[in-house]
Symmetry: C2
């Protein structure tokens, strides 16, 4: 998506060769017009997949996922992060460990919002090692839902997330795929 690539080049801030800060338009300050266009792009791409719900992980995925859900006219479900496992029969939960920060959290989903009849589009802001998406898929499978596809705003294509998700049999559709980045340049892969 050229609009997102251009915005990353204009307002993104690269630290080292691994960290991309998008605080000006996605994570901290959010551009609602860009989010609407991103939502439209996802809605168009997954239009023939019979999506019944959009799912995201709190909190940076909420804005683009909400816009996609609005365009597709389906509910949004926000998977919650909790610091530790809670004893709760009404919840599905699974532990996610970030390779980057080595921190763990419990990803949770209420049993009454997703069912085996649901066909899910999972949306998140970043894909790097794929740990968050893999955890979300695990949780959605506990609910016996079908994962129809994964929509990502920014993929760090030099990390193994996409390959790992593809190997589990899921499509990853990324709006901006970064091949290489440093303080001076950001190179994109031109196909989604």
């Amino acid at each position: 998506m050229k609009e997102l690539q251009d915005r990353i080049l204009k307002d993104g801030q690269v630290i080292g060769t691994n960290i991309l800060k998008v605080n000006k338009f996605i994570n901290h300050q959010v551009d609602p017009v860009l989010m609407e266009h991103i939502g439209e792009d996802f809605a168009n791409h997954f239009a023939d997949k019979g999506i019944t719900k959009v799912v995201t992980i709190e909190s940076s995925g909420i804005a683009p996922a909400l816009m996609a859900a609005a365009k597709m006219n389906v509910p949004l479900v926000i998977l919650k992060k909790q610091p530790s496992k809670t004893l709760h029969n009404d919840l599905y939960q699974t532990q996610v460990t970030s390779f980057t920060t080595e921190k763990s959290y419990e990803l949770t989903l209420s049993r009454d919002v997703i069912s085996e009849d649901d066909n899910i589009l999972l949306i998140d802001d970043f894909m790097a090692d794929g740990e968050a998406a893999t955890g979300a898929i695990r949780l959605l499978r506990m609910a016996h839902a079908t994962v129809a596809g994964i929509g990502i705003l920014i993929e760090k294509s030099f990390q193994p997330g996409r390959r790992k998700i593809n190997e589990q049999g899921y499509e990853v559709y990324s709006l901006a795929r970064i091949k290489y980045m440093d303080e001076y340049q950001i190179d994109f892969i031109e196909e989604n």
Copy 2:
């Protein structure tokens, strides 16, 4: 807002006389159509206030605040919660303690997203004791921004939040004001 009141009566779940769970349409599963209508209502109400940015607190306020920002055609800024104070010159931060849970967190705002020229509409999902809104106002004043008003989805009018915010000189506009609730009934105050 009748649509929100009706939805609370239909899908809200009251525990005791103090906890209202809105997991089915606001907090966990989110209804994008309702969020659009809420965004429109806020945009209409604050139309003549010269709002330059909408601000919310992660993560339950993001969906309605994004829709309001989209309707008003201004950026959204998400105040971040962090477990403890961090040493960071680029951040404004202030401690917020929840009266209900007695837990504390640091509310943070990057110095480069809000300025003294900004005229802010603060949006949050709930108002109870007003601690979160008071913390957000404190943070926005550190940035020398003007707070033009506060938009709330659900106000627990039997708690002191609204009065405390009004006493600081700010308007509170709440879409659903709950006078009393228990397992069997929810009574609303009919004016905003």
